[in-house]
Each structure stands twice: as structure tokens, then as C-alpha cells.
């Protein structure tokens, strides 16, 4: 029974003995709580007599001579001292230097960390404190081995791609399953309107400041309890809980500025004009005739990046209260975050509250609830590849134009001050439209635990994750859509839409726990679960507004498109698990889940997901304990696991052949939508994992290494069909891929004196490969590009995220034309000369955190890197376009272009309307490796006398920075980009994507007395 937290003992033991002996007073401190550690339990061993230290860390107790006093507190090593008659005791509690005895929640049960048989990584709140992050997914970046996190852009509250051990799927989701306090939550974008890759993010609604820990389940053993949803890994998030202690109230305040990490080097008016005139002349035309006149055309020189970008303000406030008594514990928290984006008019605000309460109703029955409420207001702007995007418009806009006229009014479409199509005044596009998304999240559960006996526990839980989004949008007559697009009417365009996604979960588990002869530990779990997900959405659009003073659809002249829709899906499951260990030496876990999913046809509705894992604690063997090596190696454990997991996350009703409503000429009818596939079934991943956990030098060095091989078969894929069938694709299980890799996590306490220096390193390498595609036809994805079928390809033998294109061999010094590799030697450069030119998957990713504590000072330095990944700088096909058009500004790189015979350069000749020199080729593919100082924070804890004078318990001030410095060879704005947010097959494309932002902030953490 030592698996239970020590505190539970005191409650269970209820024998009453009268306290006798000497009255002892004392003070309990720790290295970080030098003034006194509150809440420490002080118990006379063998009795229930004891005390708890007060807010100042003091206690007083009657102690009989010769008794043993036990001091214990969560997170600290338990200390026992034999009482020798002192009247005053000063005790220094040592922090748990090893995390091995920590209890970790895995699946539906919890286990001591040292007894884990699978691959589980933990991230604690402490590791991410001071870093300005918006959502709970962002916290994972660079912190955990085997986890790749890419922020799609620098948009606040924007999309983030998290991949655990690579990507397992092409068409179904590749995002991990996130479970917060037992409730699976919505991931990905919530809003209906696509903003050119810069989506919103459901996980940005959950404040990271209320999170206690993240557990990442990475191998089959750990994930198997989540069966058909587990293939992409599982992230278990636990919110902060109250503890049995005096109430404490804390304030956390952080304020700072947000800036773009890099502006790209574009041409000024004079340089651009000269370049354009050359391009026109090379095409045999007269530049004057096209209105490109020196001294006139370039009379204005606007730096559009400066015009749309700003320094934003970031501020965050949190107040929380926690505490508890014998029967009740609580954690209450409220927080507000306000982050201005670096693009004009872009802002993300979030207000949230958390309430976690647990009440012991009687010795056997405990009732608890966890509730998170959040509301965000997201003022969005269009981005990426939109013609009317803000950042994209700024980098493409010709410097000849101005954002404001002489009266200070924003230049609208049709004005001679801004040329119009294909670009639009990006300042107007930022300031004039209204794209507001109001999102409400309710995440909560109630749970009930009934302890039949010490061995048998019944737990039942019901929870909800509700996400509601209202989108309120208007584009005025002075914008591209509202003013220019004729299909909208040129008189304003408004959209109002609502989306709700809610999932309900209910589960019940029965767990049994028994120790026989002190050696055999057996536990078993049986459970059932139901999950139902409903989504409802509606949208209405209005056009032809009387003027820009009327911006709601009630004033629209024509309201002609409206939709409403509902969909639901469900999962019904049974699961069980058996764990056995012999003397902590040999550990075995068996698990099985049976899932039924509404996503699949009747024939393949149910699936079984078994797993097995075993561990051998070598360090407990007698030959090991006897050897001198035991002095150094305190704990050595070998793990192996195998199992099957699934991925059921596809769109609803894919197995049905369906017809949907269609209209023609004022009549309603039906039109075929898709071909059914009754044989559709889950993607299944067979996983094998071997791992080693080592703890050296009293836990000062802890190492976890894992190697894995995962093979996913029956990949769900929209198999392309020829149109002669009447359809273009059918969903089918037709592909196979593998992920294999190694991971290393290392924590070392380098110095543990007055200066404490800790290093946390993680490294991972994942190799992904497509093993099989039905029809073995390459499937093109990504963007259409000049002269090829697509920027990306799915091809057997290649990983997901493979780039395709012509192979650029250089620039002919004689003609200045691009030279491409004529792969098939047919004398022509066509799409059939396209080859694989690289891929977006990194060869090595990782992070290193160094933490220093010296007295009251603390410093944390966190670097993160990605090595060997390629980024497609697709923007350059517009920004170094060799004269394909003269409607876009060009990069400074264009100054290196070929100009006369004999020029040796890598930028081809500029010639108006020539597309040959701008064909999609390896010229635009760049090394996206980077090393980034992801965060840096420096804190100082005020001395106690000063703190006391402020009537505070503890006050810490800090300064922190994110994305302070980046080393990369990538020539674009930022190597960490993905214009197609969340895409796996087409990741790593930079298409006018807003670079990451840098945050500089200061803050205070304070605990009230």
C-alpha cells in the first residue's frame, strides 16, 4: 500500500491516544522556502498524534522522549528524527531529488513513476513558468523527447502542430489525443472561416497557468487504454489541485512587448523600378509605355512591412487560491491574458476561471469536480496566401503606393494611390474589416469515488467539453472582398456564423489492488466509457449594404446564403488492465480496449486494441546490489512494450454513399456527394518500444532512453478516382507507413550547493516512411505550382512532407536562363521531370534547459532546435519571380540576378511574362534547420523582511524573453512555419506566413500572507 500518498494514512488511522511528554516547538524550512515551509505534517511515529506546520512553517507538539518524529510533505523527502528532549527543533526538508516516487496518472489509473512499464514523459508547470505562452499545447515545445511542436505562425492564439513520434496518418488527424482531467478535448481550429492557414486553436482557450502537469503517453503500453484514438499519442493534462494546507492566495502578473522576429529584405522603389524596367526591356517592350518611368513611378517609397507591423503589448494576470482541510480541498483561479498581435488590429484576449473541488463525504465516498470556463475574443486578420491578407499584402505590395492619402484616409480599392488587383492596400485590409471570433469553452467533470475496501475502488465520472464560437465579420466597401469582388457586389460583405462542438463523456471504472506476502503486487482495472460528440453550426451571409455605417446583416440588401448543419458521432468502449509486479523487480502490464465507433460501417464498427509491457528492474537484483556499481547506479530499469492502437478521427459518415441537397433554377433536388465504402475501418498502428530508465548518483543524473518501431496500416486515405466514375475520390484504407526513432531524455543536477545548476536535455530522431500506397501512384498535395503537379508528393519510400519539383541546376551564364535537370532526357522540361527534392521532416529535434539557482536569484535558459528539415520558401516564387509579373515587390536577392552574358549567379534573368525561369524547382527549397533561444528568464525572490513588510508570504520578480535569438540559414522570415496549418503531407511551406514573434516581459509572482 505504499503506492498511496503518505497523507492518506493519517486519515485512515483513527486510533486516539493522548499526547504526553515535552512540548516541542519548531520550524520547518527547505532550500527554497527558507523562511518556513507551511503544511508539513509532523507525526509521532506509530501514533496518529501530530501537527501540521502553520503558514510560517512553525509547529508545536507534545512529544514523549525517545519517540520518532516523521516530517513529510509532498515533493520532499520524508525525514525521521529520534526526539532527544530538545524544546526547539529546526528541520530542513530536502526536496525529492529523484522524481521516482512521484505518482503519475496513466490512463484510468495512477502509478508510481518508478513502476512505469511504458514510455511516458512528464512536463511540470515549473518548467514553463515565466514563458509567455498562450495555450496548453504551446507549452510542450522543445520540452519533451519525441514530441515535435511547430507553431504555424506568429499569430496569437493561432494554430500549433504537435506530433508525438512522427505522423501516423495522411488523411485522418495527426494530432495527439488531449485529455484534461479525464475529459477528451477538442483540438485544432474551431472557427468556420479559413484565414489562409492562420487558423484559431481550441487549445488556446485553456490557460497554461492552471496546469499542474502534462503526461505524454508515447508507446502502446501507455496509450493502449485509449484504443482507437491513441495512435498519435496521448497528452494527459492535470489542472492544479488544492492540498490539505492553510489557504494560500497567489498573484501572477506579467506584462511585456511583442515584436516580429525578423522583417524580410525587400527592394525600395528605385531598385524595384530599375529591375522592372529591365524585365520589360528583356521582353522586347518599352518600359515607358507600361508607365514605368523613373522619377515618377518611384516618387513614393513605402515600407509596407513597417506600415502593417507594430510592437504589441502582452499582459497576463492570474489570481488563484488553494487550500484544504481534512475533508475538502479546493483550487480556484481566475486569469486574463491580452496579447496584441504584431499585425495591426490583431489581438487575442482570454478570460478564464478554474474551480477544482474535492469533498470527502464519508470515509469511503469522495466527490469531486473540475471546471474550467474560458472566453476568448480573437480579433483576427487575414494571412498567408490570401491576396487580401495583411502580412502577405505587405510583403507583396509595390513600394510605389501609399497606405494613406493626403488627408490621412486609408486608400481603398480603385484609387490611383494603390494599384489594386492582385494586391490590396494591406493597411486597409488590417484596419477596415471586422473579423471577430468569440469563443466560449466549458470544460468540466464531476466524479465520484467509492472505496469499498482498501483493495477495491469504484470511480465514476461524467464530463463535458463544450466549445462555442460566434464569428462576427464585416468587410467594408474599402476592402478587397467588400469593395472589389463583383460576386459579392462591391457594397460590403458581412458574415455571421456560429459553431458549437461539444463532447460528453461518461465512464466508470472498478479497480482492485492487492499485495500478497509483501512481494506480489497485483492490480486490475475494468471500465466502460461512452463518448458522444455533437457539432452544430450555422452561418448567414449578407451583401449590398447601404453604406459602411451599416455593418450587420440586418442592414444587408441581399441575404442570400445561409446554412445550418448538425453532425454527431460516438464511441462506446470497454477496457481492462492487469498489472503485476514481483518485489518491484519484475513488472508486467496487460491491457485491452474494445472500441465501437460511429465513423465506420456496420462490418467494421468494433475494434480490439491489446497491449503488453514488461519491465525488469536490474538494480534490484542481488548480483547488482552486491556489486560496487550499485553505489553509482541507484536505479536501472529495462522496459519493453508492444501493442496496437488506432486512429478513428475522420469525418463523419464516410462509409455511406450519399446524396446531398442541390438546387437548380429555383428548384431543389439531390446530387451525388460521394461513393460509400462499407468496408472502411480504423487505421491501426502496431507499436514496439524498448526503453531504459537509469538513475545515477542519488538521482542527480536521470536518463531515459527509448527506441521504437511503429507501423501503421490501413491508412485512411481519399483514394483518387478517375472522374469517369462520376466521382473524384473515395475514402479507403489503402496505405501503410512506418515511424521509427530514438529518444533521449536526460536530467542532471550539475551543482547542488549554494548555486544549484540543473540541466534538462531531450533529443529525438524520427524516421517516417510511406511503405505502401494503393495503385502506387504518386499523389500530389500542397499547392499547385508553375510547371509541376504540386509542391508535395506522397510516394512509396518517401516520408510524409516530401517536396517535389524540378531540379534547379543553376543559371546559364550565357543566356541567364534557369537550367533544370531534364530527368527523362526528352529534350523538354515538363512536369514529368519533377523529382523529389527534399522533405520537411527534421533529422533531429530537441531542447536544452539550464536552470540556475543562487540564493534568491534564479535563471532559466531554454534552447530549442530542429535540424535537417527543409522549408519550401514558396513566397519566393512571387518575390523573386524572374519577371513573371511586375505586380509584386521583389526581395533584395533579386539584385543578384543575371544581367549580361558571363554573369555567374544563382538568380535567373528577369523577363516580363517569362514563366520558364520561375518554374517550381529546388531553387525555392531551403534548409530550415534552426537553433533558437526559445526562452530566457531571470528571477529574484525578495528577502523575507521586505516581503513581510509588504504583508506578503513570498514575492518574486522576473524578466523573461521568448524567441530572443535564432540561428538559421533560412532566408525567409522564419524557419518555423506552416502555411497549411495542421497539414502533415504538406508541412513546412512558407507562403507569406507571418514569422514568429519575440516577447520581452517582466512580471511578479506573489503569495499573499
Amino acid at each position: 500500500m505504499r503506492r498511496f500518498l503518505p497523507g492518506i494514512f493519517f486519515i485512515l488511522l483513527s486510533s486516539l491516544t493522548l499526547a504526553q511528554g515535552q512540548l516541542v516547538t519548531g520550524l520547518v524550512t527547505s532550500s527554497t522556502e527558507t523562511d518556513g515551509l507551511p503544511g508539513v505534517s509532523v507525526v509521532i511515529k506509530g501514533t496518529s498524534d501530530g501537527a501540521i506546520t502553520d503558514i510560517e512553517g512553525k509547529f508545536s507538539l507534545q512529544v514523549p522522549p525517545g519517540a520518532t518524529l516523521v516530517f513529510s510533505f509532498v515533493g520532499y523527502q520524508t525525514q525521521e528524527i529520534v526526539y532527544a528532549g530538545q524544546t526547539r527543533l529546526n528541520i530542513l526538508l530536502l526536496e525529492e531529488s529523484t522524481e521516482l516516487t512521484e505518482v503519475v496518472v496513466i490512463g484510468y489509473s495512477s502509478v508510481q513513476k518508478r513502476d512505469i512499464t511504458g514510455s511516458v514523459a512528464t512536463l511540470k508547470a515549473d518548467n514553463i513558468k515565466d514563458i509567455s505562452i498562450t495555450g496548453v499545447d504551446q507549452a510542450l515545445q522543445g520540452q519533451v523527447a519525441g514530441v515535435q511542436v511547430v507553431q504555424s505562425s506568429g499569430t496569437p492564439g493561432g494554430g500549433i502542430a504537435v506530433r508525438i513520434r512522427g505522423s501516423t496518418s495522411i488523411n485522418a488527424s495527426n494530432r495527439p489525443l488531449y485529455i484534461i482531467d479525464g475529459v477528451p478535448v477538442q483540438v485544432g481550429a474551431l472557427s468556420q472561416r479559413d484565414f489562409g492557414g492562420q487558423d484559431d486553436n481550441a487549445l488556446a482557450l485553456i490557460p497554461p497557468g492552471d496546469i499542474e502537469s502534462w503526461q505524454l503517453l508515447k508507446d502502446a503500453s501507455a496509450k493502449a487504454m485509449y484504443g482507437s484514438r491513441a495512435a498519435n499519442g496521448v497528452v494527459l493534462i492535470t489542472t492544479k489541485r488544492g492540498r490539505k494546507a492553510k489557504s494560500s492566495i497567489t498573484f501572477d502578473i506579467q506584462r511585456g512587448i511583442v515584436d516580429i522576429t525578423k522583417k524580410i529584405d525587400l527592394l525600395n522603389s528605385t531598385q524595384l523600378l530599375e529591375l522592372q524596367r529591365e524585365a520589360v526591356r528583356n521582353a522586347g517592350k518599352n518600359p515607358d509605355g507600361l508607365g514605368l518611368i523613373p522619377g515618377v513611378t518611384d516618387a513614393v517609397n513605402t515600407n509596407w512591412q513597417d506600415a502593417v507591423l507594430r510592437t504589441g503589448i502582452m499582459q497576463q494576470y492570474q489570481m488563484s487560491a488553494s487550500g484544504g482541510s481534512d475533508n475538502t480541498t479546493y483550487y480556484l483561479s481566475g486569469s486574463y491574458r491580452d496579447e496584441q498581435g504584431v499585425q495591426l488590429n490583431n489581438r487575442f484576449r482570454r478570460l478564464s476561471g478554474v474551480m477544482n473541488i474535492e469533498q470527502k463525504l464519508n470515509p469511503k465516498l469522495t466527490l469531486g469536480t473540475n471546471l474550467t470556463l474560458a472566453r476568448s475574443i480573437n480579433n483576427r486578420v487575414k494571412g498567408d496566401n490570401f491576396l487580401d491578407g495583411v502580412y502577405s499584402g505587405a510583403v507583396k505590395s509595390l513600394p510605389y503606393y501609399t497606405p494613406y492619402d493626403e488627408n490621412g484616409r486609408i486608400v481603398g480599392p480603385g484609387s490611383a494611390l494603390y494599384g489594386g488587383f492582385p494586391n490590396f492596400n494591406p493597411v486597409g485590409q488590417a484596419l477596415l474589416p471586422r473579423f471577430d471570433a468569440f469563443t466560449t469553452k466549458i470544460l468540466g467533470n464531476v466524479n465520484l469515488r467509492y472505496e469499498f475496501s482498501k483493495e477495491l475502488l469504484f470511480r465514476v465520472q461524467a464530463g463535458i467539453d463544450y466549445n462555442g464560437v460566434e464569428e462576427d465579420q464585416y468587410e467594408s466597401t474599402q476592402t478587397a472582398i467588400g469593395g472589389v469582388l463583383e460576386s459579392v457586389g462591391g457594397k460590403g460583405y458581412g458574415v455571421y456564423s456560429t459553431t458549437t462542438n461539444s463532447s460528453f463523456i461518461s465512464n466508470a471504472t472498478l479497480s482492485y489492488n492487492k499485495t500478497l506476502n509483501e512481494k506480489h503486487h497485483l492490480s486490475a482495472l475494468l471500465g466502460t466509457e461512452i463518448i458522444r460528440t455533437n457539432s452544430r453550426n450555422s452561418s448567414v451571409q449578407g451583401r449590398i449594404f447601404p453604406s459602411d455605417d451599416f455593418t450587420y446583416i440586418t442592414s444587408a440588401g441581399i441575404v442570400d446564403q445561409g446554412t445550418s448543419f448538425k453532425a454527431q458521432s460516438g464511441l462506446f468502449s470497454l477496457f481492462g488492465e492487469v498489472k503485476y509486479d514481483y518485489a518491484d523487480k519484475y513488472l508486467l502490464t496487460l491491457g485491452m480496449r474494445r472500441d465501437g465507433s460511429s465513423h465506420f460501417g456496420p462490418g467494421n464498427r468494433f475494434g480490439y486494441f491489446p497491449s503488453v509491457s514488461a519491465a525488469w528492474r536490474i538494480s534490484e537484483e542481488s548480483f547488482f546490489t552486491a556489486s560496487p556499481i550499485h553505489e553509482v547506479v541507484n536505479d536501472l530499469k529495462l522496459r519493453i512494450s508492444a501493442g496496437l492502437t488506432g486512429n478513428e478521427r475522420i469525418t463523419n459518415y464516410q462509409f455511406l454513399g450519399t446524396w446531398s441537397a442541390a438546387t437548380y433554377n429555383g428548384n431543389s433536388g439531390v446530387s451525388p456527394e460521394k461513393i460509400g465504402n462499407p468496408y472502411l475501418k480504423w487505421e491501426s498502428t502496431r507499436e514496439l518500444n524498448v526503453g531504459l530508465d537509469v538513475s545515477l548518483l542519488e538521482g542527480r543524473i536521470q536518463l531515459t532512453a527509448d527506441g521504437y518501431y511503429n507501423k501503421t496500416s490501413d491508412l485512411l486515405f481519399a483514394r483518387p478516382y478517375p472522374s469517369t466514375t462520376g466521382f473524384t475520390s473515395v475514402f479507403d484504407n489503402i496505405a501503410e507507413l512506418e515511424n521509427k526513432g530514438v529518444e533521449l531524455g536526460l536530467t542532471t543536477v550539475n551543482i547542488d550547493k549554494q548555486l544549484k545548476w540543473t540541466t534538462i536535455i531531450n533529443l529525438s530522431r524520427n524516421l517516417n516512411k510511406i511503405l505502401f500506397l494503393a495503385d502506387s501512384i504518386p499523389v500530389y498535395t500542397g499547392y499547385q505550382a508553375n510547371g509541376v503537379d504540386g509542391t508535395n508528393v506522397l510516394q512509396v519510400g518517401q516520408p510524409l512532407g516530401t517536396f517535389t519539383g524540378l531540379r534547379f541546376l543553376g543559371v546559364d551564364p550565357g543566356t541567364g536562363n534557369a537550367i533544370y535537370d531534364d530527368v527523362n532526357h526528352d529534350g523538354k522540361i515538363t512536369n514529368s521531370d519533377a523529382v523529389v527534392i527534399g522533405n520537411a521532416q527534421p533529422k533531429l529535434i530537441g531542447g536544452i534547459t539550464n536552470k540556475f539557482n543562487y540564493g534568491r536569484f534564479d535563471l532559466s535558459v531554454f534552447f530549442q532546435w530542429s535540424l535537417g528539415n527543409k522549408v519550401l520558401n514558396f513566397s519566393k516564387e512571387t518575390l523573386v519571380n524572374s519577371g513573371q509579373d511586375i505586380q509584386n515587390n521583389q526581395l533584395v536577392e533579386a539584385l543578384r540576378r543575371w544581367q549580361k552574358p558571363g554573369d555567374i549567379t544563382d538568380v535567373p534573368r528577369y523577363e516580363l511574362s517569362n514563366t520558364y525561369n520561375n518554374l517550381h524547382s529546388s531553387r525555392f527549397l531551403e534548409d530550415g534547420s534552426y537553433l533558437r533561444l526559445k526562452s530566457l528568464s531571470f528571477g529574484y525572490t525578495l528577502p523575507p523582511n521586505l516581503t513581510a513588510r509588504l504583508h506578503m508570504e513570498r514575492v518574486r520578480v522576473f524578466a523573461s524573453a521568448t524567441n530572443l535569438w535564432t540561428y538559421t540559414k533560412y532566408s525567409g522570415g522564419d524557419p518555423e512555419v506552416s502555411t497549411l496549418d495542421g497539414s502533415t503531407a504538406s508541412q513546412g511551406i512558407d507562403f507569406f506566413t507571418l514569422p514568429q514573434v519575440r516577447t520581452l516581459s517582466v512580471g511578479i509572482n506573489a503569495a499573499l500572507r
Partner: protein, 455 residues
């Protein structure tokens, strides 16, 4: 034993949840119907017929792009690769416009085949309705294959809804396709109402108009003249007195069949093609300089109203002209013409001229002068046969501008090389047919190695 109770309790709980389980695992889809129930009772017939028209209409804007952008009518003026390829005559098999036309044809064919297979088995459908809908399916399928034959040459002849067969289906010669078209047209002849609700739906004279065009393309001059005459003399249609109505209005008096796109129903004229967006919004494709000159000529007269000019647009390669047809979203004139009376006069004129009925009463001259009079353009006088043939070619350019005829006309009369070589330095004879979309070759094994020559 106590533990056993607990286990039983849990099991009972699971069983208690089972009704919820069925509800959870088999949620009812909304807004969709499954294949097996879509056409099995009389009330379904109209719905599926509307579905057929919904798919079929996409052929119209796709044909406008093919007929006008492949020829010398339009040039590119935007950023989309597909129109750059068409405008500069560098068309590849990856071109999205090519794929759109191909797939719009086969989507219409699928529903037509679905109706032809299933409708005879549906009980309780009145004979008149059954005949009408069957005839509609035959006619629209025939037209789809007609466009296919003249756009792509030999194409797969899909006559069933058997998905597995149609995934691996080779090309059938153009002659056989055209024979099939004639059979479909003939099957529809006499079965459709002479006066449909409006000309958004096919009637008897739409079939006759299609036959007139079919025989014109086949150079069966007498049959072409016969069917054109039947339509002209039916008195169902009359030339609008002002040509501008043809440009700015839906359902002009001379409309025989048009693809309907109403304000509330896809005003962008198909999400994939969006003619008003292409022509007026983005101005991805604009009238070429020779087109502007031709339409501005005296001979063209009022047909100049097919294009419009805005000096603000004049810069760089942009000549400032736009296609005025297909209007804007709030002007309800997005319909695309399949057949109208003006074309019937042109077909008859050409058929008569080829039969040496060049000038005099009931000749090419009288037919052309009907259109000239309406366009307030000068009447034509005495000309030779070859002059008349050339004159009709020009007349078709004025009258049918941006209705998707020019490329098909130049190719069928053998004039493509001569005309297009002068218009574009990149023109090659391979462009007399569009390529089979690359996607089709990639996904249909029977098409591998069977691309049109030169692509």
C-alpha cells in the same frame, strides 16, 4: 464474494448503457441520403432530375473557357496558372480548366446513367413523367459527350454507374462517341415538352437545336439546315430587338437552353469556374486586343456591348477591357447560354452557304442580315461562297463572343492553324484538342500511354 458483486454491478451498468450505445454508434445523418433510397419512389424523380441539371450546368461555363480562352478571344491577366497557360498557349495536361471540363462532363454522365438505370425500375411513376425524365437524361448525356468529343477527341464511353468498370476504361474513338451522341439525341427527340417551364430546362427545340449543331459540325449541311429551320420556324423564340439584352439579361426571348445560375443559387456561376469573378471580379482573363478590334468594328454593331472598358484598369499588359457578359453578382445575369436563336441563324447560314445557297431569298445572306439588322450593323450584299464562309466565321465571332464557340469553330472548319498562328507565337496544331487531364491518366490504368498527341 463481495468483489464478485461489484463486478456484476459494473457489468450491469455497462448493459444498462447498451441502448445508449446503439444511439451513440449509429447517429442519423442529416441532410444526406444514401444511394439505395435516393431514387426508389415517384417523389424522388424530380429531385434526381434537378441533381442532373445541377451537375450538367457546369459544362456551360467550362465550355466558355475552352471555346474562348483556347482560341484568340481571351488573354490572361491574372495570377492563376491555368489561365496563364491558356492565354499564352502553353497548355499542359495539369491545367485545372481542362480537368474541370472533363469532370463536369462525367459527373453529368454519372447522374444521367443513374437515372437511365434506375428510373425504369421505380414503380408508380406516370408514363409521361418517366418518358420526359428519361429523354432529359439521354439528351443531356448526349450533349456532354458531344462537348467531350470535340474538346478531347476519343474519350471513355461511360454508359453505366458501375464504379469498378469506370475506374479502368479506355478511350472510344471520336466517331463512335459521336454516333452515341446522335443515338442519345434521337432517343430524346419528340419526348420533351415544346414549352418547358423556362429555358433553364430542356425542351423539344433544345434537342433540335443540338441536332442542328451536331450536323453542322459533321458537315451534314442539309440536316443542319433542316433542324435549324425547324427551330427558327417554331415561333417559340424571337430575336431580342436589342442585342444588349443577350448580354445583360437572363432568359432573353431567343434563349433555347441556358445553364441557370440564379442570385440565390450559385451566383458565382459555379465555385470552380466563377465566370463573373474571372471576367469582372479578378479579371483573370480579358478580351484580347484583336477581339476588342473585331467587336468594335462597324460589322459587329451593337455586339460591341459584349465588352466594356475602364481606363482605371489600363496599365501594364492590361488593355482595360472586360467581358461584360455574366455581369456581377447583384445583376441577375449569370446564366450561360447553351443554345439560342441567333446561333440557329448562323448554323443555317453556314449550311446554306455550303450548299451554294449564298445570296438571294432563303440563303445565307438573308440569315446573316437578320442578325446584322438586330445588331444595327450594315447589311451584307452580294458575295461569293468563299467570301460568305469567311463572313460567317467573323459573324460567329461577333454574335457568339464569350459563349464558348470560337475554338470549336476554328478547329472544325480547319482554320485553327492559320488563325491561331497569327494570334499567338506559341500555337501548335496539338492545341486543336485539349489534353486528357493528367489526373485521369494517373488514376485510370486504361488511359496510361494514351494521351492526345503532343502533350
Amino acid at each position: 464474494m463481495k468483489n464478485l458483486y461489484r463486478i456484476l454491478f459494473t457489468t450491469a451498468l455497462c448493459i444498462g448503457l447498451l441502448p445508449a450505445c446503439k444511439d451513440t454508434l449509429e447517429p442519423k445523418p442529416v441532410d444526406i441520403l444514401t444511394d439505395d433510397v435516393v431514387l426508389n419512389e415517384p417523389a424522388d424523380v424530380n429531385n434526381v432530375e434537378i441533381g442532373l441539371y445541377n451537375a450538367f450546368r457546369t459544362i456551360a461555363p467550362a465550355t466558355v473557357i475552352a471555346g474562348d480562352a483556347t482560341a484568340d478571344m481571351l488573354i490572361n491577366n491574372g495570377t492563376f496558372t491555368q489561365y496563364q497557360e491558356l492565354g499564352t498557349k502553353q497548355i499542359t495536361s495539369a491545367n485545372a480548366s481542362v480537368a474541370t471540363l472533363w469532370s463536369s462532363i462525367y459527373q453529368a454522365v454519372y447522374i444521367a446513367n443513374f437515372i437511365l438505370e434506375r428510373l425504369p425500375k421505380v414503380e408508380g411513376v406516370p408514363t409521361s413523367q418517366r418518358d420526359k425524365v428519361m429523354a432529359t437524361a439521354h439528351f443531356l448525356r448526349g450533349y456532354a459527350y458531344f462537348i467531350a468529343a470535340y474538346s478531347f477527341g476519343a474519350v471513355p464511353l461511360v454508359t453505366t454507374t458501375a464504379i469498378d468498370d469506370n475506374r479502368n476504361i479506355g478511350r472510344t474513338s471520336r466517331d463512335e462517341i459521336l454516333a452515341f451522341v446522335l443515338a442519345d439525341y434521337t432517343a430524346a427527340l419528340g419526348k420533351l415538352p415544346t414549352k418547358p417551364v423556362n429555358t433553364g430546362f430542356a425542351g423539344e427545340y433544345a434537342v433540335q437545336a443540338a441536332l442542328a449543331r451536331f450536323h453542322l459540325y459533321q458537315e451534314n449541311w442539309a440536316d443542319a439546315e433542316k433542324f435549324a429551320t425547324q427551330v427558327i420556324t417554331s415561333k417559340q423564340y424571337s430575336l431580342d430587338t436589342a442585342f444588349v439584352n443577350v448580354v445583360t439579361r437572363d432568359f432573353p426571348a431567343e434563349s433555347i437552353l441556358e445553364a441557370a445560375y440564379t442570385l440565390t443559387d450559385d451566383p458565382g456561376t459555379n465555385g470552380n469556374i466563377g465566370l463573373n469573378n474571372l471576367f469582372v471580379g479578378r479579371r483573370e482573363i480579358i478580351p484580347s486586343n484583336p477581339t476588342v478590334v473585331a467587336l468594335a468594328s462597324d460589322e459587329s454593331g451593337d455586339r460591341f456591348s459584349s465588352i466594356s472598358f475602364n481606363a482605371d484598369n489600363l496599365k501594364g499588359n492590361d488593355n482595360g477591357w472586360s467581358v461584360a457578359k455574366y455581369g456581377t453578382a447583384d445583376q441577375d445575369n449569370n446564366n450561360v447560354i447553351f443554345f439560342r436563336l441567333g446561333e440557329m441563324y448562323l448554323i443555317r447560314a453556314e449550311a446554306r452557304a455550303q450548299q451554294d445557297k449564298v445570296t438571294g431569298d432563303n440563303t445565307a445572306q438573308t440569315d446573316i442580315n437578320v442578325l446584322r439588322a438586330r445588331a444595327k450593323a450594315p447589311q451584307i450584299g452580294a458575295v461569293t461562297k468563299s467570301q460568305m464562309i469567311q463572313l460567317i466565321e467573323n459573324e460567329r465571332r461577333y454574335e457568339l463572343a464569350f459563349e464558348g464557340h470560337r475554338w470549336y469553330d476554328l478547329v472544325r472548319t480547319g482554320r485553327a492553324s492559320a488563325v491561331m498562328a497569327a494570334a499567338s507565337p506559341n500555337w501548335q496544331s496539338k492545341y486543336e484538342l485539349w489534353p486528357v487531364p493528367q489526373r485521369e491518366i494517373q488514376n485510370n490504368p486504361a488511359l496510361v500511354g494514351n494521351q492526345n498527341p503532343g502533350y
